[in-house]
Structure formats: structure tokens, C-alpha cells
Symmetry: C2
Subunit: 325 residues, 2 copies
Amino acid sequence: MKIAIYGYGNLGRGVECAIRQNADMELVGVFTRRDPVTLDTVYGAKVYSVEDIYGFKDEVDVLIICGGSATDLPEMTPRLARDFNVVDSFDTHARIPEHFAAVDESAAKSGHIALISCGWDPGMFSINRVYASAILPEGAENTFWGRGVSQGHSDAIRRIEGVVDARQYTVPIDTALELVRSGKAQKLSAGEKHTRECYVVAAEGADKARIEREIKSMPNYFADYETTVTFISLEELKRDHAEIPHGGQVIRTGVTGKDGVHSHTIEYSLKLDSNPEFTASALVAFARAAYRMRQRGVTGCKTVLDVAPADMSALSPEELRATML
Amino acid sequence: MKIAIYGYGNLGRGVECAIRQNADMELVGVFTRRDPVTLDTVYGAKVYSVEDIYGFKDEVDVLIICGGSATDLPEMTPRLARDFNVVDSFDTHARIPEHFAAVDESAAKSGHIALISCGWDPGMFSINRVYASAILPEGAENTFWGRGVSQGHSDAIRRIEGVVDARQYTVPIDTALELVRSGKAQKLSAGEKHTRECYVVAAEGADKARIEREIKSMPNYFADYETTVTFISLEELKRDHAEIPHGGQVIRTGVTGKDGVHSHTIEYSLKLDSNPEFTASALVAFARAAYRMRQRGVTGCKTVLDVAPADMSALSPEELRATML
């Protein structure tokens, strides 16, 4: 199947790499908003301007949209679904119903398939929440994130006056993890499950005490969490915090049998060296599913919850039954 | 949807309990090979003889077949799929292609849907193997089982002369688990990943040394494992080993990015107080999916790999997108 990449940041670079790991896929090219001549791709993919994409309608089976969820995807995915089968990793949980409606209208009308929110949360974590709650309807569920870099929280710190750069790690609290795994906890709040570690580069002469106070009192982002702030140099930030690791756990505990006498724990866990590259790898596997579903006549907006696992795999149904089942 | 249970051992009892946890399901009755009058059900379900099942063709949406994989299911599932939509938990991995073919012929011809191998391994573990290998195609995968009771290994010990009863626990080796999680191991053998603990009740005057020797040298079952044998009394067996816990992990590690520089670990883990009750709960969730898929016109034999997560859930697509995605 022929894949194209729309948008070329960390995510797009990850998709370029992931496509090389899948022998049944071919990369048509990268479409960028920057000047194509200035763009160096990881493995030398062909580069075009985003404006040229409409000349590739007949050459692209699935277009993987690698934009941001804040402003890019709400505009890009509905627009591009008019002419392409598309996959995105839209991850603003609260706005998914709205995004779904906009994309569905466009994809259903044009007869394309659009698979949205194909990352790990939303994405693989969502899938595991659904499986686990379907099997253990009487139970409690908790998601932990980290240890990993939260881009949104790092950005929030950077907007404070006197901050040159910052990196924020979300860190799960071990005792909360153990409590949840034991089945003794109901739904915990995010602040009961996580601490926040902030590494901050302050401008010369900036008031560090004020910066720390502003971070720790920031509503929604930090106020409800145990937060630590460590000031470091720009060199230290570049040396020790260049990577973008992440991960987490979806844990559901539940009871079965007469009077609920037996307890069970289902846990899905990710430990990722690179958040964008793992998301990219998920996008590529979901692009295969989108291609197969479209071949069977499926159109409109779908989510990861509508995808059967077999459609994600390069193996045939016979091979899957013989080797994976 | 109206569900019936065919076969009433530990699994059937678990299904009876699980149906009560799902408000969208109704239990039509239990069909048993024993004399219905002698059968006490957990919650007082109606009991019929297996011979009466064909009088319920129009009253049962999905029939959950709760038989054993050795001799029951290879005969029951193809036969019952001629008149019912069916779900089973066939778990003899090596014979799945054969079982699939027999069930498919019968279900496709009669226009029913048959979902096979709907437990946890095969079942949820299979699903997770497929997702993880699709997302991280360049990697290694290992499954660990336990700590839990292996019915097959317990039975093998019971067949030795002089053994009154026995319970065998499969126990994962912690150092192997850590090695696999670190991404430093390729595919390990079952013996490299597990030890086997045997609790044996010997007949009075039996030669315990010979029994221990026969266990430890049994090919396939014990010869390739570090095995311990502990002789206990029948009272101790009944007191300390009455439960049927199990569980395990599917772990895939893989690399992404330029030259595979970043590593990732995906782990799906189950910790189950009751193996048959968890399998029963999975069967019930897959029965919901079978019902929905049949409503959409799907017929023939399918496996858990063909089921989209959304079809397992009692929630509507809108609710799932708003609360689970």
C-alpha cells in the first residue's frame, strides 16, 4: 500500500522510519509546509509542498497526517478526508466527539475512511480500557502516565516570565500503583497518582523563587500535584533531557463469581524511549487497517475502537491463526 | 440479548455469574449432559437436558459452549453452529486451524456466526500479540504463564501409579522476566522462563522416590523444566490448593527510529484469582460481539482477532468515544 506523510516534525520523521519496517508499505513522499528544498528527511524520502498534495490523489492509498492536535488536526483532517483516506493521532480527549463529527461528515460524504486518535492515549490505552471493562464490568479502572515528558506541561512552564526553557516529567507514585493493582482503590485523581518534576532554565538575573511559586500554583497543570522544581543550565538541559520518553499503565481490577468472591487484575503497560516514534509506529499499523477496511467498503470516520486486531497485522488471517492465536 | 449455556462445569458456572453482571443480557437456561433434576446452579438458572437445545432455536441469540478442548469442543462447536450462533473457548493452540476449518464449514453453510478460542490464551493474549507485533514489527516477543495451576500438568501427575491427587503450579522465573522486559532477550524457551511446582498426594505405601523420578523425567511436561515435588496429605491439598488461580504476561520489545536507536516495551499482564471465571467473563463479552456482528450480517467462523473492541462493550459508540477513547 502507498502511504504519504503530511507534516514533518518529530511524528512525521517517526512515520518515515516506521514505514521502512513494514515490507507491504511504500512511502510516496513527505508533504511539508516548509520550503521542500530546505527539508532533510531521515532516509531521503521525496519532499513536496503541502500544496502539491492534491496532485497525488490517485497515488496515495492512505495519508498519515502528522500535525498537532491544538490547531493543525481540527482543520487538516476534515479537509484532507475529502480527497484521501486519512489517519491521525488527534489526542485532545475532551474534543474527540467534536473532531469525530467534523471528520465523519467530510469522510462519509466523499466515500473515504478516516481513522482518528491512533496513538497510545488515545489509542492503545483506549483499546485496553474497552477490553478490560467489557470483561470485568464490575470493577475499577485507573490510568497512570509516565515516567515521561509532558509536552503540554513543559510548554506551560516556558510561558512564565524569566524562563528560557523547561522540561516537565510526569512521574507515577509507586504506592498509588500498588494500591490500584491490589484492587483496593477506586478511581484515583491524577494528583493522587502522579508527581511532577520540573527542570527549568532561568534567564540570567530572573527571580527563581517567583518562577518556582508561579509553577507550583498554576491551576490544572501543577496546583493539585506534588511538584518539584530544579533549576539547571541550558547545557544540562540539552545534555540530560534531550530525549522524549513516556509510557504508563492502564489497570483494571474487578470481581467475578458468586457474590464477587474472586478478584482479577488486567494491566496494560508501555515503556517508551521515544513518545513520537511509538505514536508514529501505531499510526502506521492503523494506516494498514484503514487501507484494508476501505477495501472492504468501510467509509466515514472510525476510531481505534472500530478496528479488529487482525487488520493491523501484515500477516494473513491463516498465518495469524496458526502463529499468534 | 438472550444467552444459553451448553455444558455446566466450572466454566459454565462462571458464565452464569458473568451474565448477571451485564444488564443487556438474559440467561435463557443451562443445558447439561447430566440429569437436569440433579443439577444445582449458582443463581437458580433454569436447567434443561442437552437434548432439548434444538427446541430453543428461536429463543437463543448466542449459545456459549462450555466444554473441554480435548474431546467436547471439536464435536460440539461444529455441530451446534449449524443451528445457533456460538462462542467457545477452544484452547489447544496447535489444533486451532483444524477446529477453525470444521466450524467455518458448518457456520458459513448455515448462516450463523461462530467465535472460537475466546478466553485469555488463546484470547486476550493472542490479541495483544497481534497488536504489539503490528506496532513494533522489529522486535522480540515472549509469553509468561503463572503463577497458576496448570490443569493439564496436574492431570499428567495424577496418571502416575500411586498418585491419589496432585496440583501443579507453573511459576515464571523472575530473572527471565526482567531479561525479557529489558529487551535484551530474544525468544526464550518455556523451560528458560518457568519452573514447575508439584504438590502430590501419594497412596499409602507408595514409592515416593519413584513417583518423584517419574514426574521429573516426564517428556514435554517436566523434563525440560526445573521441577520441585512436594508430598502433602489429601487434607492439605484440599485446604491449601482448592483455588484455580492463573495469569501471565505477553511482553514485546522492539526498536524504532533511525537505525533502531529507541527501544520500547509493551506488556499485557493478567493476575487471576480464578482461571475459569475470568475465561467465562471473556466468553460473555465475546458473545456480545458475536451477537452484534451477526446483526450486521457477518457469518462463518471468526476468532477474537476479527473482533473490534467496540463490539465487546455494552456502551454505545458515542459513549465509548466520549468516555473511553
